[in-house]
């Protein structure tokens, strides 16, 4: 029988956002209402949601599936917004898609303990998330093939 693990995905998202703030020299805000909606949608999809955390089975397929669900809802509902761009910086158009890819990869790295995903694919994949049509299932297939 598979065990379970707790994924503090909101905390991971906040840490990833903080990293994006410093790497791109921007001020990014997180819309808590959208975070709540994402949490509700995870609960609707059958995940054991408990406040800011979600309990997921520890099998690779379940963890990758969960990471894909989160990434899908972040790129779709876009909880991040850039509220200030210093004159020396440039606005990043696909900041939510970058956060989605990084969050999914961070979950795989910390929970599945595998990450063969080449960092050079982060930007093109984020661009594809913005331009093309992806479902949580197609995202999971891609994430599994590229990461595990």
């Amino acid at each position: 029988m598979a065990g379970t693990t707790t994924i503090y995905w909101e905390l991971i998202l906040r840490t990833v956002t903080s990293r994006l703030n410093s790497d791109f020299d921007l001020t990014i805000a997180i819309d808590q209402d959208i975070i709540n909606e994402i949490t509700f949608r995870l609960w609707s999809s059958g995940y054991a949601v408990n406040g800011e955390e979600t309990i997921v089975n520890t099998t690779t397929i379940d963890l990758v599936g969960f990471a894909s669900q989160i990434a899908f809802w972040i790129q779709k509902l876009k909880p991040l917004s850039i509220i200030h761009v210093p004159p020396s910086s440039t606005k990043i158009l696909n900041i939510n898609e970058l956060a989605a890819v990084l969050l999914a990869e961070a979950i795989c790295f910390t929970k599945v303990k595998k990450s063969k995903f080449p960092p050079q694919l982060i930007a093109p994949w984020a661009e594809s998330l913005r331009s093309d049509i992806h479902s949580p299932q197609s995202y999971a297939t891609t994430l599994h093939a590229l990461t595990i």
Partner: protein, 131 residues
């Protein structure tokens, strides 16, 4: 069990395991899983104890000190979790930085700049057609 050992013992999953198998609750008694011979005798005992414990607990006045301790423990747990998650995400970004090739941040900036320039160029063309 093998999947649990795969996890880091310091990971937040330890909290989930402890929630799922909380042995501290009054109803829990390992004798529930004992042999069938003394099943009737054993199963009645913990229920009686449990009711007695609950009655005793409900009569006892609430202890402000224990509430304070509980709050401190919760704060400590929350702080530890935050620090641990931040450390794990930092390790992930360090892993990305250690990979050979161009940095993902530079590539994302270049891709973004290219996109912005293409949009500007398209916009200028549209305006020139309009005029």
């Amino acid at each position: 069990m093998t999947t649990e050992s795969f996890e880091n013992s310091n990971s937040p999953s330890a909290y989930a395991s402890s929630i799922l198998t909380d042995h501290s609750t009054p109803d829990f008694n390992p004798h529930f899983v004992s042999s069938a011979d003394d099943e009737n005798h054993v199963t009645e005992q913990p229920v009686q104890n449990s009711i007695k414990q609950r009655q005793t607990a409900s009569l006892a006045p609430p202890s402000p000190q224990s509430d304070q301790e509980k709050t401190n423990t919760e704060k400590q747990h929350s702080l530890t979790t935050t620090e641990q998650v931040e450390a794990e995400v930092d390790a992930f970004f360090a892993h990305l930085s250690s990979q050979p090739g161009k940095s993902w941040v530079e590539l994302a900036k270049e891709s973004n700049q290219k996109q912005i320039e293409e949009i500007k160029k398209w916009r200028a063309q549209q305006q020139s057609i309009g005029s």
